[in-house]
Point group: C2
Chain length 257, copies 2
């Protein structure tokens, strides 16, 4: 298998956590397979989650901050905060992104959301292309792969098709579709580990075995069949055209399966 | 109308923003109506978004941090970081919560997610009751009201039933259901302002008029008809029982309408 560049973004405050162990496992396994691995350990880096004018050192504090225009301006003039640029460079360099984090309140931890808010600059991750609408199957990260590896405290039934929290595929859609597919990545089905809090230290072997399979399929597994925006299935107002997924509702209409 | 206590959590880095204007408008309007208003301006407070061991000053750094158990321990022994306790006191004091923020990447800004991650302590917002499952229609914030007031950059069609980003009700479900309904609040339909970036300064009058109606209905408008977990509609594995919303799918099955 050809050697690849893999970027792991990892968000957990405790290095001895299950998330830390999964991150270490992935690093070791991927390096053993000959790949080059880069890790952004957001807590260890003291990543600042709060997006604000500090992201644009040249921004005049007397002037009202429009975050999206300041973001575009700073990206185009190479005046972004250096830690933002460094993360963008890793995203450009990589062939695949792995996100390792726990699910907190049906979403990602704030520190990781703040990585997205800040690193996903205008013209880099959105507002790309002549009309600014190269996304969902197009964009600057097109052709790269993405895998969300997430631990979840409770058991799977609570997140099943009729589970009280809402079904897990839909809960993760704002991440898989809205954050990973948006700038063009091919998104694999998430790697989910339920009942994470109840896992005993010697329960890691079967977990590692499952994860290993996913890591080995990083470049060969079938991505989620999200519909590309430019594939002729959406109208000029970016609505799914009549005749496609008729009579269906919810996020599932944006998948081809 | 009886005078009430209203808590506004506001998250925007720019005081001169539309979000700042909406927050100020709500404060003034609600105070003029005789209510007492408390505001947490997260950026002005330098709210730390990153949940970690600093939230539990008594936590022994030599010991592995299990965030949820440390959270419970600190909540029960009154040893949480003071800024966390202060926010919990406001949640106990209030009759209604208003969240004012922009939509960033199909969710809330990281600073606000970090408010949820840290303030929603175990035994306060989750793990409540004898079995730890008093939630969704029950919990410590039962009987209080919640209104999410959010600005959205693009236009409404893109978030419509068949819009490319996914429909807005489902995109907000992790917040309305997962964060606001979970600890027991009655959640009103969100107040959404599309094309926020394109709004000119003199375009605020009609916006204010619409928002005023929502503020005046804060205690009288009909909440979203989410199904309470303890209402007999879920089984012991917290799955919707057969016969309820049969043949339907997606988050909509968790509403009674």
């Amino acid at each position: 298998m050809p050697k690849k560049n893999i970027f792991i973004v990892y968000a957990h405050p405790e290095p001895r956590s299950l998330n830390g162990t999964l991150k270490d496992y992935a690093v070791n396994h991927l390096q053993d397979a000959g790949h080059t691995v880069e890790v952004s350990d957001l807590y260890a880096m003291n990543w600042r989650a709060e997006a604000d004018s500090r992201d644009f050192p040249e921004h005049d504090p007397e002037k009202r901050l429009f975050y999206h225009s300041a973001s575009k301006e700073a990206f185009l003039t190479d005046t972004q905060a250096p830690e933002i640029k460094a993360e963008q460079e890793k995203l450009k360099w990589m062939d695949a992104l792995i996100i390792q984090c726990p699910m907190w309140w049906f979403s990602m931890p704030a520190i990781l959301k703040g990585w997205v808010d800040r690193v996903y600059a205008r013209r880099f991750a959105y507002g790309v292309g002549y009309h600014g609408y190269e996304r969902y199957g197009a964009g600057n990260l097109k052709g790269k792969r993405a895998l969300l590896s997430m631990t979840i405290g409770p058991e799977e039934a609570h997140y099943s098709e009729r589970g009280v929290h809402g079904n897990i595929e839909d809960l993760l859609f704002p991440i898989t579709h809205g954050i990973l597919y948006y700038p063009g990545m091919d998104v694999l089905p998430p790697h989910l580990l339920y009942r994470a809090a109840a896992l005993s230290p010697d329960g890691f072997a079967p977990v590692a075995e499952t994860y290993r399979t996913r890591l080995e399929g990083l470049f060969t597994d079938e991505p989620i069949s999200f519909r590309p925006q430019g594939g002729g299935e959406y109208d000029e107002q970016f609505r799914l055209k009549p005749g496609i997924a008729d009579g269906k509702s919810g996020f599932a209409i944006h998948r081809r399966d």
